[in-house]
């Protein structure tokens, strides 16, 4: 971190960025009680992220001087009331920006007026100076649980469904592969005999699925640190235990570890699982994966015109650890200095270092926790290793890769140089896709 705490080349945004977690819920709408530019900043950061009613569709009070001086609550009342007339939505989440936060509008009371009329509406404080979007994702999800999901708890008794789980993993849009990843988790967990509520994206069941959150027998947290407040909250609220896998499982080793961890946990929680079938599923997936690796190995070993031999990753902690492990063990690309750009709170950093250390008995993988990615780039600019290098990062890193004559894979936001729709990096198939992406770009440098 720099002395001032400044950030160059942002790779995450402020709390109100968690409006994208609302956009990711089918037919939900974020309503912004904020300055006029907040929505544009978030839409511009994530790009191609408007979903059903995000971007310029989202209602917003667009604070002016008048609201700053006199408060904006009456304006918000009008906007909410008219949202019901103009937009056809299943869930409304009011998010506040810095302006509302500083002037101190009582949004909760106003929103509860609408809730008392039976509207599916939730409010959450997301002033940009209070938190970043990694943290605010949990604020948004917990607010929806407390103010919406909990209204349906009578019909959805806690832990009443033995084989249902809530999956807390990719943060929508902040993880560019969130849609594909969540779908792949769902598919893999179904292979074990579990029905996963993935809560976001087209393969979730929208607000109906959210209503069943309490029924889950237990929860699965896949994250280095973010999202943990949701798992903790659900544990307190509905008595759901959770199993915590601390990085993104990419490729066979980590996906197997993840699935066996979940399987063991499910059995201790009394899930009704055919253990033999579940193990057979994992083995079958793994076999299919290794058929590809087996076939590819000759290329990796013999391609004589140069392939990257080392990698620097600038990403959140989950991807840095997950990709480092995968690339070292399953592809043969050595992770050198790594940069975690997600503003990991200090209390989690030691565990993340340990995870990275456990990646190899033979080598140290130096890691920097550096939300000021401009500084991360400065460090990287001064590092030299022999051989062809690869940088995996956000669009910001493309120019640095060019400068260093490295290959570059865009896999983090902001991502102006790459389109991602439903690609997954999670799982066996995700590992294969990472391989395809890396060597596609390597091979495209020829001719």
């Amino acid at each position: 971190m720099s002395l001032s705490g400044m950030i160059e080349q942002e790779r995450f945004t402020c709390a109100i960025g968690a409006l994208q977690s609302v956009v990711a819920i089918p037919r939900a709408v974020p309503i912004l009680h904020s300055g006029p530019g907040c929505g544009e900043m978030i839409a511009g950061f994530f790009e191609r992220s408007t979903g059903y009613a995000g971007g310029t569709t989202s209602p917003c009070t667009n604070f002016t001087e008048k609201e700053v001086v006199f408060g904006g609550i009456n304006r918000l009342r009008d906007i909410i009331r008219n949202t019901y007339k103009v937009l056809d939505t299943d869930l409304q989440v009011v998010l506040t920006g810095c302006t509302a936060g500083i002037v101190g509008d009582d949004v909760d009371s106003l929103v509860s007026e609408f809730a008392e009329e039976g509207k599916p509406i939730v409010s959450v404080e997301t002033a940009g100076f209070k938190a970043n979007n990694y943290e605010a994702h949990s604020l948004v999800v917990n607010a929806i649980i407390d103010q919406y999901v909990d209204l349906f708890v009578a019909e959805n008794a806690p832990r009443s469904s033995k084989n249902t789980v809530n999956l807390l993993a990719s943060i929508p849009y902040q993880d560019p592969f969130w849609k594909g990843n969540l779908f792949e988790y769902k598919r893999l967990l179904a292979g074990l005999g579990l029905k996963a509520n993935i809560l976001f994206g087209p393969y979730s069941g929208g607000v109906k699925e959210w209503q069943t959150i309490p029924t889950a027998n237990f929860n699965i947290l896949v994250s280095p640190w973010y999202g943990k407040p949701i798992a903790d909250h659900l544990k307190t609220k509905y008595g759901q235990e959770y199993t915590w896998f601390r990085h993104v499982p990419i490729g066979a080793n980590e996906t197997e570890a993840f699935l066996y961890q979940v399987l063991d946990f499910a059995l201790t929680q009394g899930a009704e699982i055919d253990e033999k079938a579940a193990r057979a599923f994992i083995q079958h997936e793994s076999k299919a994966y290794y058929e590809e690796i087996d076939n590819l190995a000759t290329f990796l070993l013999e391609f004589r015109y140069g392939l990257p031999n080392h990698v620097h990753i600038l990403h959140d902690a989950g991807y840095v650890v997950g990709l480092s492990r995968f690339l070292l063990h399953e592809v043969g690309i050595v992770p050198k200095e790594q940069f975690i750009t997600d503003a990991t709170p200090e209390k989690f950093q030691e565990d993340i270092r340990a995870e990275l250390k456990a990646t190899s008995q033979k080598r140290e993988i130096p890691v920097y926790f550096e939300p000021d990615a401009g500084r991360a780039q400065e460090i990287l600019r001064g590092i030299h290793h022999n051989g062809r290098g690869l940088i995996i990062g956000s669009g910001w890193d493309k120019e640095l890769a060019k400068e260093k004559n490295y290959d570059f894979l865009s896999a983090a936001v902001p991502s102006p140089y790459r389109l991602v729709m439903t690609t997954n990096y999670v799982g066996f198939t995700g590992g294969l896709r990472v391989i395809e992406d890396i060597y596609h770009l390597v091979l495209s440098t020829y001719a």
Binding site: I7, E8, E10, V68, I102
Partner: protein, 491 residues
Amino acid sequence: MSKVNLSFPEVQIREIRINSITGYQGDAQELVEASYSGLKDKERTFSQCLGCATSKAACMTVLIQDAAVISHGPVGCASCLHEFAFTYRVNSPLRGVVKPTPRRIFSTNLKEKDTVYGGMTKLANTIREVYERTRANAIFVLTTCAAGIIGDDVESVCDEAEEELGIPVVAIFCEGFRSKVWTTGFDAAYHGIARKLIQPPRQRRDDMINVINFWGSDVFAEWFAAFGAKPNYITPYSTVNGLKYASEAAATVQACSTLGSYLGAVLEQEFGVPEIPAAPPYGIAQTDRWFRALGKVLGKEEIAENLIAEKKRKYLPKIEALREKLSGKTAYVTAGAAHGHALLDILGELGLKTVGAAIFHHDPVYDSGRKENDQLAQRVSDYGNVPNFNVCNKQEFELVNALNRIRPDVLLARHGGMTLWGAKLGIPSLLVGDEHYSMGYEGLVNYGERLLEVIENDEFVKNLEKHAINPYTQWWLNQPPHYFLKGGTGV
């Protein structure tokens, strides 16, 4: 004429300075007439995410080649600025930038405790660290809502840093809530640039003409060459030095009066650079006027006449051929103010029937105070009135409503996100990002060809229409578009 006053750190906002408005429903002629007789703004009781001054100030500073930009606020207030880094990179070949350099964009990353104790120390430290890291030739500091409300004295911090570092450190006051018209952000950037960067002229150069513009293609070089001059593109792709001596140019022209209104006036009133008294050259009539005005300001009227004649000889037959193909097609325009008017000119010239427009805001009189710069007035007198003229403040719900009932043959847009709704309704939609593309006589040919192509290639939008997702209620689509505008039935 608006009063430029560079002694204040903050620019006067547009709605006060030039009486700009963000809500209107009627036709273009009424609006033009009302513009000179005390136009009143109207509010809405429903609104969607807008856009704010800070990113507009950013796009006029981030692309200055050797400068660094600091957003003084929470991290979110700089989060879309990477788009300008991309733009800079992608468009640099258009401006002959051989070695594009990484854009240097920072946030002071204000936290909750800063909103309590103030963020000035943090800003001072950031400026110092940014200078150490970038050795930029100038640093711009953009303010945000949070910084504005907590009352940080950004001007003093910048002045002190300027003294310490020996480079211009320019405070730009562009908090989102300050103005309802986000284009105030352009004015704010220019105000800061004029106060801290532009120097009094050492000489008057008759070989240099300022072009206030975004990042479009270099069409002016060829035009100005005939007059023995070169364009000085400001402010994107300029350098700190290039900006300093913009004061020495022979004249200033604008690519878009919404963008450059204030800077044009500043250069004229404070530094003696005349702004040419003509709206930008869109459509034949306006292009004629523009070249003549330019020739007059440069004292080279004959060259202007020759150029006009030569260009017309070359392009009029092509324009005529396009007119035949396009005539009678109906078109709808949605765009920021002046460029929207430019698109209306082009449509008029190419013989399309304009059936409506959703223009983001309206500046009744530009800062120059000259009626000759009023592009909408020119449009109405050159090509006739525009019905269904809506000043929409970029409100998507109004656009969707209007498009759904008007159903033009083609939608022309000039802002990200707005073409989507044309396409969802099965209407061929065109966005040309390069605002220079359709300028001049040749621009009509360029644009006309693109229009034909877009109208012809409608399979994509017809298919999209069948599967389009629509979050708007049927009730809303049945109301008049100005239902929530003051004076409308729903207020």
